[in-house]
């Protein structure tokens, strides 16, 4: 099995679920500790679609990859309960871990908890769960590794075609193909096989291109950033390129916002959803997200220095203070939305909103 770790190391494969951790390191640890494997095919982020796409189109290779990493009888495929993905996996005869349809249910430690017969809620990482760890109550959790479905599919590909094949796409620092789900206000929603170093507009081309009238483009869903159309036209899809606009490649999601919708209202809707998705375990998330919704609404009603300062204060209070990093992601998203939507907030400050192709009077978003 060490041969596989060497191949993954040479290929430079990194996790495709969002954090981009080196896969060889994780697989090596999993083999050392005899860890159970959970393949995460939940597509939980808003706009995510690639896990479902892999299950529909490359299931044999996905199962093959899981067999390379996991031990017989100790591999489970996590998918949302009742989803087409869960049905397809079950029909294929693999062991399915059915996950409740909540945002934080498919977080890595939530899946580990669920596999132990506990509620699918994030656990505090006092150590590495891949090596076996105790939960907050001191109960032992057997060694478990969670890999994103695309990561597992790429493992099968690297094993079959080799590191050289893998490195033909992408950059030296961030090699290999990577899937991106493109949706929203585009000609057609697609899952594109792209690579680090592409321009964002080249990824969008597969979905019919970036329409002229677009004002905002989301990258990474609720845990990502909101870009202006100008930023999106210049952006390069790799870690340095996305970092320049405050984001990351994350789980591979690009969402074009409909210019007929008021973007302030869209952010409000996303934040209301986010506040309802907290597992309610960690105080800063449980109280901070509803406060952020309130702060954002106040900013939309009365955009001024005071309401803006309150939103900035709250986005500064959330990061690094939860068992999982859901609040970190939401804070990052809001911080980027405040910057990107400055011109639109200025309109609202003057009681107007120029969406739907017309300028009209507004009370608030």
């Amino acid at each position: 099995m060490t041969a596989l770790v060497d191949l993954l190391d040479d290929a430079g494969l990194t996790g495709r679920g969002g954090a981009g951790f080196r896969t060889a390191t994780k697989v090596r640890a999993a083999q050392e500790h005899g860890s159970a494997l959970i393949v995460n095919a939940c597509d939980s982020e808003i706009g995510a679609a690639k896990d479902a796409w892999i299950v529909q189109h490359h299931l044999a290779e996905l199962v093959d990859g899981a067999g390379l990493v996991g031990f017989p009888g100790r591999v489970r495929f996590a998918a949302h309960r009742g989803s087409a993905t869960a049905q397809t996996l079950a029909a294929a005869g693999v062991s399915v871990l059915e996950v409740p349809a909540r945002y934080v249910s498919s977080e890595e430690t939530s899946l580990i908890a669920l596999a132990q017969g506990r509620p699918a809620r994030p656990m505090t990482r006092r150590g590495h769960f891949v090596a076996g760890e105790r939960d907050s109550q001191g109960r032992r959790i057997p060694p478990t590794v969670v890999l994103n479905a695309e990561t597992v599919w790429r493992i099968a590909q690297v094993n079959r075609y080799g590191p050289h094949w893998f490195r033909q796409m992408g950059t030296e620092a961030e090699p290999g193909p990577r899937l991106v789900a493109v949706g929203g206000h585009v000609g057609r929603s697609v899952v594109v096989e792209a690579a680090a170093g592409w321009r964002l507009v080249d990824i969008l081309a597969s979905a019919g291109g970036l329409p002229e009238d677009v004002r905002e483009v989301g990258v990474g869903g609720l845990g990502g950033v909101l870009l202006s159309a100008d930023q999106a036209r210049d952006a390069v899809w790799d870690t340095p390129g996305m970092a320049r606009v405050g984001g990351a490649m994350g789980p591979g999601i690009v969402t074009v916002w409909d210019p007929r919708d008021c973007p302030l209202h869209e952010v409000t809707r996303m934040l209301e959803f986010a506040a309802g998705e907290s597992a309610g375990q960690c105080g800063p998330c449980m109280f901070g997200l509803p406060a952020l919704v309130e702060g954002w609404r106040d900013l939309c009603r009365h955009p001024d220095g005071q309401t803006r300062a309150r939103v900035d204060q709250l986005t500064g209070l959330l990061p690094g203070r939860g068992a999982c990093r859901f609040p970190d992601g939401v804070a990052r998203f809001v911080a980027s939305a405040v910057l990107t939507l400055e011109p639109h907030l200025a309109e609202h400050a003057h009681g107007i909103c120029s969406t739907r192709g017309v300028t009209r009077n507004v009370q608030y978003a």
Binding site: G17, G18, Y103, E108, G283, F287, L317, R321, R332
Partner: protein, 79 residues
């Protein structure tokens, strides 16, 4: 999902707060002024990295929720 490339937070200290256990009693902030502050909801913000081991032990022992623990300062990676 959970686009979280690296740990960015205010908690890089010798003590960690288990956020799923913490219920905001605020004892830690009283025992460790200058190291722990409370946010507007009463939950701790670890603001200072260095901490006397004896003080840390006392705070860990006194936490009613058993939410404080010693840690190395290096957070486990996520994905």
């Amino acid at each position: 999902m959970f686009n979280m490339p690296e740990y960015v937070g205010t908690d890089l200290a010798q003590i960690g707060v288990d956020r799923t256990l913490c219920s905001g009693h605020g004892i830690c902030a009283a025992l460790l002024p200058g190291t722990v502050e409370l946010d507007e909801w009463g939950y701790p913000i670890v603001v200072h990295a260095g901490l006397d081991p004896q003080e840390a032990e006392t705070a860990i022992r006194m936490c009613p929720a058993r939410a404080l623990y010693r840690r190395s300062g290096v957070e486990p990676s996520t994905h």
